[in-house]
Symmetry: C2
Subunit: 143 residues, 2 copies
DNA sequence: CTCTCTGCAAATGCTTTGCAAACTC
DNA sequence: GAGTTTGCAAAGCATTTGCAGAGAG
């Protein structure tokens, strides 16, 4: 298992620790998220993988709760649905190909520095990875 | 009038030039967009300013047509509605405060260079201004 | 036993679409 | 006239919410 990545147990513990109740649907959502690892899942994806264990509404509510605890983040990868993934330390930006829809993760460093250089004089504190950078991937740009 | 900014006539001419028909609702949408200048308007904003001159559906269809001609761009400033503005040369990124919702435009230069540095090795061609950078503005961060 | 959480179904907000009538070229 | 556009209303997503019943602590 990759070091530093949150496990289902970590997520559950976080919920309990925050005084929230640990229920079967929440366990299921946490398990799905942990199993997805670095993948970005939509709420519908999570619900689908959880099967009957969790209703879509409950998935949304649980993701929201986990996000409030900073254990899950959601990003916008395109014009469609938002995507969720574990971690608070998602040290990457998302490049999304507007043609084929593929997502490429890139380390945050260089970008982050450039963004902060621009925003610091304004006093603006960026949460820059929240929205993706759209464009065309190498393959689709070539065509 | 600011130099280089497209006028309503420019937009109309573009439509005609593309073989599309120039109708009253389209004229109204073009006029609203040109009058908005650097402001970002949602489709609903455009429809509201056009009054009875253009139905919301028509506004969407017209914006779509103008976008196809690269005379209008749309950006995503937050979790809500998308926003439209004239120009292909929108040489700025958008910083959106997640607390107060204010939008700050920043020149594209520094950011664009940093983004291209990251994406070039991947062969990825970014259209980086399409999604905003969320965060907190100076005022809201202070509180 | 109390209070939170769940599932369902309905509501919401934004955007798209089908279709007959209106209008441009 | 021929063919594109319009307005309206309805459908389509993603997401949120009200509420009664189920379940956690």
């Amino acid at each position: 298992m990759a070091p530093g990545r949150l496990t289902a147990e970590d997520l559950i513990a976080g919920l309990r620790c925050a005084g929230l109740r640990v229920t079967a649907p929440r366990r299921a959502v946490c398990a799905v998220l942990a199993a997805a690892g670095r993948d970005h899942l939509t709420a519908a994806d999570v619900a689908a993988r959880a099967g009957a264990a969790a209703n879509l509404s409950t998935v949304y509510r649980t993701l929201d709760a986990l996000e409030g605890l900073s254990m899950v983040e959601h990003v916008h990868l395109g014009h469609g649905a938002g995507a969720y993934h574990v971690g608070p330390s998602a040290a990457h930006h998302h490049l999304v190909c507007e043609v084929c829809g593929r997502t490429i993760d890139v380390p945050i460093d260089a970008l982050q520095r450039a963004i902060e250089q621009v925003t610091a004089p304004l006093g603006f504190l960026p949460d820059s990875a929240h929205f993706a950078i759209v464009g065309r991937c190498a393959e689709c740009a070539g065509a």
